[in-house]
């Protein structure tokens, strides 16, 4: 038998599929799977909220303070003003089950946050930058809206679930990057609707309290013109002011709420510790 060498006609060791086809399939497929898992987890958190009614939440977070804030002294007279305003506003939400508390964080960055157990934290920077009671009422009302929609617990639950999810897939750096991009896109959509809902609730409280919504969003008009600096913190956790003002004004028009009315000035009691 004589050996006759022949050329191999095709290469069985290389897949004929185009690499870009594989890339597209993988990115789109994995992206979809990840998005589905993410949305399922978000709904799971909403479901879990049923098992933590406000009464239970209040017991769990009684007198609790987040560790990363530096509250001012308990005898700061500004606390009284805030507490009185909060009490007036929450009267218009009679079903509220929370014993609302307010604390001042001694930070120059303007921001306000809702924490589990009915705690609202307002920064000293925000107090300095609000110019009327109506402005401040709307900001407090907005945070009350987060309690109404239970966004504060939802945020906590989502944060915990996302942490678990990312730890699970962080074995591969690339896929973790893909995952976090998708999570950011999904979450920003979710939180935008949460913020809008809280805004509508806050505006309704302001209208109920004053009979008009004048000045309610003036804080945002002001930060829309002068941004950055001490407002960075607020802008990082809240929607862009321009969209927000447009939405608020549209909502007030829809509801037939007048935006003309007398604005209550703010006169803060002197902070004894201030120089």
């Amino acid at each position: 038998m004589k050996f006759i060498p022949r050329k191999a006609r095709n290469d069985v060791n290389v897949s004929p599929e185009h690499p870009l086809v594989e890339a597209t399939t993988l990115v789109v497929g994995l992206g979809l799977i990840f998005a589905v898992i993410l949305v399922a987890l978000l709904f799971l958190v909403d479901l879990l909220l049923w098992f933590v009614p406000p009464e239970k939440e209040i017991r769990m977070f009684d007198a609790w303070l987040p560790e990363d804030i530096a509250t001012v002294a308990v005898d700061d007279p500004r606390l009284e003003t805030l507490e009185a305003l909060l009490a007036r506003l929450s009267r218009h939400w009679p079903d509220a089950k929370y014993p609302f508390r307010v604390e001042i964080d001694d930070s120059p960055q303007a921001n306000a946050m809702a924490y589990p157990g009915g705690l609202i934290v307002v920064t000293a920077g925000l107090i300095e930058q609000t110019q009327s009671e109506n402005e401040l009422s709307f900001i407090l009302g907005h945070e009350l809206g987060h309690f109404h929609n239970r966004d504060h617990l939802r945020g906590l639950g989502r944060g915990a679930l996302l942490l678990i999810l990312f730890t699970a897939i962080s074995s591969s750096d690339n896929s973790a990057a893909l995952g976090s991009s998708i999570a950011n896109l999904t979450l920003s959509g979710f939180s935008r609707s949460q913020e809008a809902k809280a805004d509508r609730f806050g505006l309704a409280l302001v209208h109920a309290e004053y009979g008009h919504v004048a000045d309610a969003w003036r804080f945002f008009s002001r930060i829309n013109n002068a941004r950055g600096g001490l407002l960075q913190s607020y802008l990082a956790t809240h929607p862009p002011p321009k969209d927000r003002i447009d939405r608020l004004a549209g909502y007030a028009r829809e509801q037939g709420w007048s935006s003309d009315g007398s604005v209550t000035p703010l006169d803060w009691p002197q902070d004894p510790s201030a120089p």
């Binding site: 060791n13 890339a23 896929s175």
Partner: protein, 163 residues
């Protein structure tokens, strides 16, 4: 700067830059790969008919005049695009198709270099060919070292007095 501009810039940095890097790696990488495959094909054609076997025993009618060790080795690096796709593939499993051409190129190039060295030194055949591979660097995408495939082909080159 308008907040919209800042957001767009952020978006560009977060998604655009890596995407541009991946596409750049893809175009350069696939161009180099095509060129390499063309070169391999042409050189394999040129060496067509030169006996290269894995047999340890010779045909009985071969009369060996001289025998010597011949080697050919090559290191082929993978590109960023291949690495990303393989990383995603690692989540669900399956054939890592982007790595297959690398192994193929390395194996054929190593054998070609071995045979070319044998032929240029006047040998008539290479027998008892073996292939060996080793991992030179970490293939995880953590930036340590350059991941690639190293292939070593070696065999016994023979000068035949008659066959």
């Amino acid at each position: 700067m308008e907040p919209g501009t800042v957001q767009n810039l952020n978006l560009l940095l977060q998604f655009g830059l890596p995407l541009a890097l991946i596409l750049f790696a893809y175009f350069i990488g696939s161009m180099l790969e095509k060129r390499h495959f063309r070169s391999i094909g042409a050189r394999e054609d040129a060496l067509h008919g030169f006996p290269v076997t894995t047999f340890r025993n010779l045909p009985q009618n071969w009369q060996v005049g001289q025998a010597e060790l011949v080697t050919g080795n090559v290191v082929v690096s993978l590109d960023y695009f291949k690495r990303i796709i393989a990383g995603l593939r690692g989540l669900i499993g399956g054939r890592v198709k982007t790595y297959e051409p690398l192994l193929d190129r390395a194996r054929r190039e190593a054998v070609l270099r071995m045979v070319e060295s044998a032929k240029s030194r006047g040998f008539d055949a290479v027998v008892n060919v073996r292939l060996d591979t080793s991992r030179l660097a970490n293939s995880r995408g953590n930036g340590e070292g350059t991941a690639g495939v190293e292939m070593l082909a070696f065999g016994t080159a023979l000068k035949l007095d008659g066959r």
